[in-house]
């Protein structure tokens, strides 16, 4: 079964993250991700970067991933 730590590892392997929180029950996961790669991008582009980092695992192993993404400056201004 996929754990939140697995997903955290897969994301951070491909995407530099200043901060990442992952929670979930093996089926549904929730993430908060802060990455400098998100700067200047809209939400759809930010989510796409996370999906790209997860690649085929998104189809095969993860049923549902809900996420909030922030560039570092968005995170600081929250």
């Amino acid at each position: 079964m996929v754990t939140p730590d697995d997903i955290k590892g897969w994301i951070t392997e491909k995407l530099p993250c200043d901060h990442i929180e992952l929670d979930g029950d093996g089926q549904h996961f929730q993430a908060v991700i802060v990455s400098p790669a998100f700067s200047g991008k809209n939400m759809i582009q930010q989510h796409r970067l996370v999906y790209d980092a997860l690649g085929t695992r998104m189809h095969a192993q993860i049923h549902a991933l809900s996420m909030k993404t922030y560039a570092p400056e968005e995170w600081a201004a929250r």
Binding site: M43, I44, H47, Y51, M58, H59, A64, S66, M67
Partner: protein, 106 residues
Amino acid sequence: MTPLDRIRDQVTNNTVVLYMKGTPQFPQCGFSSRAAQVLQACGVKDFLAVSVLADPEIFENLKYYANWPTFPQLYVKGELIGGSDIMIEMYQKGEIQKLLEEAQAA
């Protein structure tokens, strides 16, 4: 027509299209349910809801259309707006209301 052509047809011939699991009345996934609720909260009555569970071809191929791996997916004027997280966040910021209003007025 290939499945991708069918999707292109749907999103270009309808201003607002929601691909979801189940229907707005009987959603079969919490994320799809919330996505349909956002559209309803925005007063969008006239949208095409496609249940991917009722259409295996679209279920299999939608992820390739806009390179987006999850359901639900909202399209406005042929463009992918996002999944339920993005819809909810845009709703909280008042952005999706404006987008939908402008799209329907046009």
